[in-house]
Every structure is written in structure tokens, then in C-alpha cells.
């Protein structure tokens, strides 16, 4: 049973290899992409149900026992994240069929997408810090190529900032890993959790913790380390932006959750929680202010990612079970809503001809149903009941009040007003106001030129993710109970440790 944890890594790898062997037969690439994403989804659900019913799954690769070999571990948190990555992978595989041009497909767009998903899944499933570094690299290298694929000048400009900052953060990561290994003599997370409290020389422990916080902070785009994100996320094709927006920053948040609940705990991480609390407030405010000022739809959404990361970091830094469960629910809800909004922005571009909100308008009159498709994720993100964002914010804010973090709770509330404002801005500009170019007639756009099949491939992911947002909203309780179970397990690392080390240590 434990072997199933290999599959979220093996399926994308085998698929990517198969695509490389098939060379230029992009038709097959598309099919393989969807098949592999669907298979990953089934496997992810199986892992999730196994972790829910029988606890932490772990696998020692090559039969080398922990802490000497590399452990792969799926606890409930990892399982939830793998499910989300499979969902986004599947939706993006479909959306790519509708939107990615054939040139990019010939330059291995589809295999790169698979390798990106492999890196993301690896980061979620590994139980070893150096291995986490390796998965980060797999993910980053794929994302570098996806970002510049097509070679437009603006893409290269964005990529330079993205690559530079991410390489810097990788270097810091590596330095931190080195120092930690020198101190503790192990890099297995479960083993570290056992050994760190017993360390004799603790002088550098805070330094290492801060270094890890910085490197994951860069990946998660936390204030003040977020500048690469709005500089680069609006440049690639929208399917790529969507998968980056949905998954990549969340890998950073996941790593922060994992490290500062399992590896560094209580006193060792007290300083980190303080810093994270402060920076979460700034992250929320700066992100949303940036968003309000934008008129390019994708830039607006990119700034929004940052603002939403603030809520998750706020919840993680509070460290109560309710807060962590809230943060997790927030992350799951946000992955769905954010990716969906990027998909919608791609459709807006195809229907109205531009991402710039100033130049377009009148979409609601021509395509009323599409207006509805936009409103579900937009209002979900802003936190209008009964959609999922409302519950996510409710829980995080309640956890903030319980912890007595009044200032930050007030910040979180006012930021969600601004979030609503910026969503309404998109609505007003793109859908409601008259088209500044005069009356347009329906049915003569880029979108209508691509044929029924491709149209369906664009609409289907938007509808599916919209439904997920609605389902999370209406059936909030069962989902939140699950998140509470996840949070309890996360804040109680003993089970994780026992599963990996076999109870020997």
C-alpha cells in the first residue's frame, strides 16, 4: 500500500518520457497529458483516503532505512496538496488544449508541464530536506522553461527577475541545509524533529530557521520578498500563469507549514512566528494595494496572489489548530479560485481582444453566462457567502480573534473589502461598462474562431473549478472537519515521526 506514494512522481515522469519519445506528434501529447493528469487524480484520491483512514504512509526509497536513505512521506497535509495539484494539473491539461499554440507544443510544452507537476508532487511528498531542495529545482527548472517558451521580449524580461530571485533563494536554501546538517548530522525531517530539541550547540539554530524562512518566503512571495511575482506571472501564456498561480507559491506556503510545525517547533520557531505574523499583515496590504492600482487583468490577479498568501501565512503563524485548519482551507479554496480567475482572464482576452481593462467592456451584454462564470470565482475570492472564500476568511479571522491578534484581524478584514473592490473593478470594466471601441457583435472573436472542441476545453475547466468553489461553500462542514483532522495531525508530529522512523528513534 505504501508504494502508492511513488505514483504521483512516476506517472508524470513516465508520461514526459513517452512524450519525448513521440517527438512532434503533439496530438498524442495532448491526449497523454490529460490521461496522465486523470490517473494522477485517481492516485491522489487513493492516497488521500488512505491517509485519512490509516494514518501516515511512508516509503524508504531503495530500502535504505531512515534516516540514512531518502524517505517519501504522505501525511494528510501532503495528501491534500497532492489532490489539489492533480486537480489543477487536469484542468490545466484541458485548458492548454484550447489555448496553447502549436509552436509551443512542438517545443515540448506538454512534457514540461508534466515535469513541473512531478516537481510539485515531489516537494509535497518528500520527507527529506535535501530531497526537497532537489524537487524545488525540478519544479523551478521546468517553470523557467515554461516561462520563456515562446521567447517574447516581455517574457524574457520577466524571466530574468524570476530566475535571479529564485536562484538566490536556492542558494540560501542550500546554505541553510549545509549548516543544519553540520549541526544535527541528519536531513531527514522526522529524524530532525527528534534531534533538534536535543542539540547541544544551538547558537546557529535561529539563523538556520531564519534562512529557511527566507528561502520559502521567496517561493511563497511573502512581503518583502515578492517582487519577482508581479514582474513575471503575467508574461507567459495564461495556462502557464494559471498553473503557476495555483501551485507554485503554494509549495512555498506548504514548506513553511511543514518546517515550522514539524521540524522547528515551539521555542526554536518563536521568532519565526513573530516575523511571519508581521510580514503576513504587510503581505496582505501591499498585495491588495498593488492589485487595486492595476489595469492589466493578469497583473491585477498576480498582485492578488500575494495578498492571499498573506492570509495563509497569518493563519500558519498563529499555530492554533483552528488557525492551521483555516489556513489550509484557505489554501485549498485559493488554489481553486485563483487558477480559475486566470483561466477566465484568458477567456476575456480571447473574447474581448485584450487583457487591459481600459480597452475592453460590454462582455456581460454579449455573453451573460460567461459573466456568471467570472462571478463565481471572483466573489468566492472576495469572500461573499455562501462561496468558499467566505468560510475560509471566517475561520482565519475567528482564529485571529481567539488568539488576540486584533490588529492583524482588522487588517485582514479591511483587506478583504479591498479584494472585493478590485474584483468589482474587473466586473465593472470588463463586463459592465460599454465597450470603448463602440458596439461589438457577438461571435466574431478569437474564441469563436477556434472551433467547438477547443472552446469546450476552455470552458470545461472554468466550470469544474467554479463548481468546486460552490461545493466548498455549500458543503463547508464536512470539508472543514477534514481540514481539522489534517491540522491536528500536523500539530502533533509524533505520528509522522513514528511512521518514518518505524518507532526506532
Amino acid at each position: 500500500m505504501n508504494r502508492i506514494i511513488m505514483l504521483p512522481l512516476l506517472i508524470p515522469l513516465v508520461t514526459a518520457v513517452a512524450m519525448l519519445l513521440l517527438r512532434n506528434r503533439v496530438q498524442l501529447h495532448r491526449v497523454l497529458n490529460v490521461v496522465s493528469a486523470a490517473l494522477s487524480g485517481v492516485v491522489a484520491l487513493a492516497i488521500f483516503s488512505a491517509t485519512m483512514s490509516s494514518g501516515v504512509l511512508s516509503l524508504q526509497v531503495g530500502g535504505w532505512e531512515a534516516p540514512f536513505g531518502i524517505s517519501l512521506v504522505a501525511d494528510r497535509l501532503s495528501a491534500v496538496m497532492v489532490v489539489m495539484s492533480a486537480l489543477i494539473g487536469l484542468c490545466t491539461a484541458l485548458y492548454s488544449i484550447g489555448t496553447i499554440d502549436e509552436d509551443r507544443e512542438h517545443y515540448f510544452y506538454h512534457p514540461l508541464l508534466q515535469l513541473l507537476l512531478m516537481g510539485v508532487n515531489g516537494a509535497f511528498l518528500t520527507g527529506d530536506i535535501f530531497n526537497l531542495y532537489v524537487w524545488f529545482e525540478v519544479m523551478l527548472i521546468s517553470s523557467f522553461v515554461l516561462l520563456v517558451l515562446g521567447g517574447l521580449p516581455q517574457q524574457l524580461e520577466g524571466a530574468i527577475k524570476y530566475v535571479t530571485l529564485n536562484l538566490l533563494s536556492s542558494a540560501i536554501f542550500l546554505a541553510a541545509v549545509g549548516i543544519l546538517y553540520g549541526m544535527a548530522g541528519t536531513l531527514n525531517m522526522a529524524d530532525l524533529a527528534v534531534r533538534i530539541p536535543l542539540l547541544e550547540h544551538r547558537e546557529l539554530l535561529t539563523v538556520v530557521a531564519v534562512l529557511f524562512m527566507i528561502t520559502f518566503g521567496v517561493k511563497a512571495a511573502v512581503f518583502p520578498l515578492f517582487f519577482w511575482l508581479p514582474a513575471s506571472y503575467h508574461t507567459p501564456p495564461v495556462a502557464v500563469s494559471a498553473v503557476f498561480a495555483g501551485l507554485l507559491t503554494k509549495v512555498g506556503v506548504y514548506a513553511i507549514m511543514r518546517f515550522f510545525t514539524t521540524v522547528f517547533v515551539r521555542d526554536d520557531a518563536a521568532l519565526i512566528y513573530d516575523i511571519l505574523l508581521w510580514s503576513s499583515g504587510f503581505t496582505m496590504v501591499v498585495g491588495v494595494l498593488g492589485a487595486v492600482a492595476q489595469y492589466d487583468m493578469r497583473k491585477l490577479l498576480s498582485f492578488h496572489i500575494i495578498s492571499q498568501i498573506g492570509y495563509m501565512i497569518f493563519a500558519v503563524a498563529l499555530q492554533s489548530p483552528l488557525a492551521v485548519a483555516g489556513g489550509l482551507f484557505y489554501m485549498v479554496h485559493n488554489i481553486v479560485a485563483k487558477t480559475n480567475l486566470f483561466y477566465v482572464s484568458g477567456l476575456v482576452k480571447r473574447l474581448a481582444g485584450s487583457y487591459c481593462l481600459r480597452d475592453i467592456g460590454g462582455l456581460y451584454r454579449l455573453y451573460p453566462l460567461f459573466g456568471l462564470l467570472f462571478l463565481v470565482p471572483a466573489l468566492g475570492l472576495a469572500g461573499i457567502p455562501p462561496l468558499s472564500g467566505f468560510w475560509a476568511k471566517l475561520v482565519v479571522i475567528r482564529a485571529g480573534i481567539e488568539a488576540g491578534a486584533w490588529g492583524l484581524t482588522a487588517v485582514a478584514l479591511s483587506v478583504s473589502m479591498l479584494t472585493l473592490f478590485s474584483m468589482i473593478k474587473i466586473w465593472n470594466e470588463a463586463f459592465w461598462k460599454d465597450d470603448p471601441r463602440g458596439e461589438q457583435s457577438a461571435g466574431r472573436t478569437e474564441y469563436h474562431a477556434i472551433g467547438r472542441l477547443k472552446q469546450g476545453m476552455i470552458i470545461a475547466p472554468i466550470v469544474v473549478l467554479g463548481l468546486v468553489t460552490v461545493v466548498f461553500g455549500f458543503w463547508f462542514e464536512p470539508f472543514f472537519e477534514m481540514m481539522m483532522l489534517v491540522a491536528e495531525e500536523l500539530l502533533e508530529p509524533a505520528r509522522y515521526i513514528r511512521s518514518v522512523t518505524g518507532g526506532v528513534l
Binding site: M6, L10, L13, A16, V17, L20, L21, L59, G62
Partner: protein, 139 residues
């Protein structure tokens, strides 16, 4: 610039370096060497040939498409994990077969994996060299 000495030498050096790269690949399990270094040395052999004889000649003697090498290298690496699954051992465990022949000794899945790495490194390095060379000859 064409040099007779280099062009003649590169023909013999190519064979020698390729044999050396296989030697490095095979001794890699217990001693310095392995698929990565082996692949680099093999790529260096072709690079030398390209410097001496030009890109077209180099493309002709590389029988396989570099991209195919990358794909089959990855495929071999993935396939090398299959025996461990079939034998019911933990994923990626090394499975060894003793051939009983003195000079060959034991053969196992890590060798297959290493050969995959060899092909992958060779393929990627050749892709880089060839595309840089073509870029150069265009300008």
C-alpha cells in the same frame, strides 16, 4: 580554421575517448566514475570531433538524434526501477544477478540506471553543443 593534425588526431581520439567513457561508466559503481562523468567524456569526444571537422561532419557521425538519447536515457532510468517492484522489494532497491563469469561479475539494476544517466548526459550535452554551433554558423 581547418587543421590537418587536429582532424586526423580527432578521428583516433574519438574512438579512444568513447572507449574511455564506457570504462568510466562501468567502474563507476565502486570507484570514481559513473554515468554522469562517462556521458560527459563521450560528449567531449564528439565536441572535439566537431571542433576539428565542423558541425555537419559531427552530426553525421552521431548516429542517433540527441533528443532520442535524452528520452531513451530517461526511459532506461525509469525501467531500472521495475525489477525492484516485480521482486516485491522497496522501490528502487538494487537487484543484482551474479553471472558467475569472473571478469563480468555481478550485473544489476544500478548499472541500467547509470547507463540511462550516461545517455541522458550525452544527449543533453550534444543538444547544447549542436544548437550553439548552428547558431554560430548562422551568424
Amino acid at each position: 580554421m581547418y587543421s590537418v593534425i587536429l582532424a586526423t588526431a580527432s578521428r583516433y581520439l574519438l574512438m579512444l575517448l568513447l572507449i574511455f567513457s564506457v570504462f568510466l561508466l562501468l567502474r563507476g559503481h565502486n570507484e570514481p566514475g559513473g554515468g554522469f562523468v562517462g556521458g560527459l567524456v563521450a560528449a567531449a569526444a564528439y565536441a572535439l570531433y566537431f571542433i576539428a571537422n565542423g558541425i555537419d561532419a559531427a552530426r553525421r557521425i552521431v548516429r542517433f538524434e540527441p533528443l532520442g538519447m535524452i528520452a531513451s536515457g530517461l526511459l532506461l532510468a525509469v525501467l531500472s526501477t521495475l525489477p525492484s517492484l516485480l521482486a516485491g522489494k522497496p522501490f528502487m532497491s538494487g537487484i543484482w544477478i551474479d553471472t558467475g563469469l569472473g571478469p563480468i561479475g555481478k550485473v544489476g539494476t544500478p548499472l541500467v540506471f547509470d547507463f540511462g544517466v550516461y545517455l541522458l548526459v550525452l544527449g543533453i550535452t550534444l543538444t547544447i553543443i549542436f544548437s550553439l554551433a548552428e547558431e554560430d554558423s548562422k551568424s
